[in-house]
């Protein structure tokens, strides 16, 4: 009865479970776990994490340190930057600064996800703890699915989905580390290559408004040049400039379309 959900969600178990928790969280979580294992993103990111395990081993880290990185950071770009910095012998503050810049995007991502998670009535500290699970794959998937779920199910779903992701990623990082010695470099390169393609196609599939597409295109165009001009802060700048441009232009496009009878204003090119 709780699952008045669209077809893409796994149906709840056939037997009526008693509901000691207010929102039927248990069956939601089971459904979320099952959905997670049906998401290509989990396997693709898994392969990228295996590539990361191999990379970290290459750089001189031990198995437990590598797995720790995946568990604590749980954000592949930040992990890659940290390995890069530490293997070059960079100091703590320098490495922290580099990593924190790659993690800036977690802020808008978490901000965007929170309103969906809030509705379930979970206490503040649980929301804060759950924020650790925010990462691109879980984010793109949940952003697609959460709006279709009843408000009270969203938090539990996210915890189930994100929790499955992080656990599986931790295991696969370790696996990648262990088999690294026996994997040819082309295989490692291909594993690492999977992630950017996956992120790209996920975003494009999730793009619903014209502004989303503008953000993707502007971001892709700005990224490489800004990296050359201002490495370190290039990602933050790309996001703000390209996202801001998409916001402004998208807003004007929407206005022009919806108020076709009003006199047009001059649109300065960004």
């Amino acid at each position: 009865p709780f699952f008045c959900a669209p077809a893409r969600l796994t149906p709840a178990p056939a037997r009526r479970t008693p509901k000691p928790m207010q929102t039927g969280s248990f069956s939601t979580i089971i459904g979320a776990i099952a959905d997670a294992y049906r998401t290509p993103g989990l396997y693709i990111l898994g392969m990228a994490m295996m590539g990361f395990g191999a990379l970290a081993r290459d750089a001189g880290f031990s198995l437990d340190q590598t797995v720790l990185m995946s568990a604590i950071i749980f954000q592949l770009p930040g992990q890659l930057v940290l390995v890069d910095q530490m293997s070059q012998g960079a100091g703590l503050l320098v490495a922290a600064f580099a990593v924190t810049l790659t993690a800036v995007r977690l802020l808008p991502m978490t901000v965007v996800l929170l309103p969906y998670l809030r509705g379930g009535g979970a206490p503040r500290w649980q929301l804060a703890a759950a924020s650790h699970l925010v990462a691109v794959t879980a984010w793109v998937e949940c952003l697609r699915r959460l709006p279709d779920l009843p408000e009270r199910a969203r938090f539990a779903y996210f915890v189930g989905f994100g929790g499955t992701m992080i656990t599986t990623m931790i295991v696969l990082t370790g696996l990648g580390f262990v088999i690294a010695a026996t994997t040819p470099p082309l295989m490692t390169a291909t594993l690492a290559f999977m992630t950017p393609i996956y992120f790209a196609v996920s975003m494009m599939a999730a793009a619903s408004a014209r502004a989303d597409w503008l953000a993707i295109i502007f971001g892709a165009l700005l990224g490489p040049p800004l990296f050359l001009l201002a490495p370190g802060i290039d990602l933050a700048l790309t996001g703000l400039i390209a996202g801001g441009a998409a916001f402004v232009i998208g807003g004007r496009l929407a206005k022009v379309e919806s108020t076709a009878t009003e006199p047009q204003q001059d649109n300065p090119t960004s």
Partner: protein, 128 residues
């Protein structure tokens, strides 16, 4: 430079660095987002802006990684990953007409990966 690489695995300092430079540096953004996000309405322009910023940032990250790769990917000549990437995305434009979202994405990623391997093997056989 001291023997930093040899002692990376054995030094306790490594764990501290991972925890601080890795963990804290990342967690601050998530926690701040959790705190700020509690007060934001879904339909607000601020929300739309934040969403577009994060999308643009990831697009930039992807583009940067393809054009300036690191790690094993960097050992390949520059054009091969770019071609494989574009080929994969081109494939997506076709797949999206016929397949569900999940299948689209799997096929696209698979195409990209296969292209990468194929192009590299081709290059090697041409050079040998």
């Amino acid at each position: 430079m001291t023997g930093a690489e040899e002692t990376l695995a054995t030094s306790p300092w490594t764990y501290v660095t991972i925890a601080v430079a890795g963990g804290v540096a990342t967690a601050v953004w998530r926690l701040t987002g959790a705190i700020l996000g509690s007060g934001i309405e879904l339909a607000s322009p601020g929300f739309r802006f934040a969403k577009l910023v994060s999308i643009a940032l990831i697009a930039g990250l992807v583009a940067k990684f393809i054009v300036f790769p690191q790690g094993a990917l960097a050992d390949l000549p520059r054009t091969i990953p770019v071609l494989a990437f574009l080929g994969g995305l081109g494939g997506w434009l076709v797949y999206r007409r016929y397949f569900s979202v999940h299948t689209q994405m799997s096929l696209t990623v698979g195409t990209g990966g296969a292209l990468l391997v194929a192009l590299e093997l081709l290059r090697r056989s041409l050079m040998a």
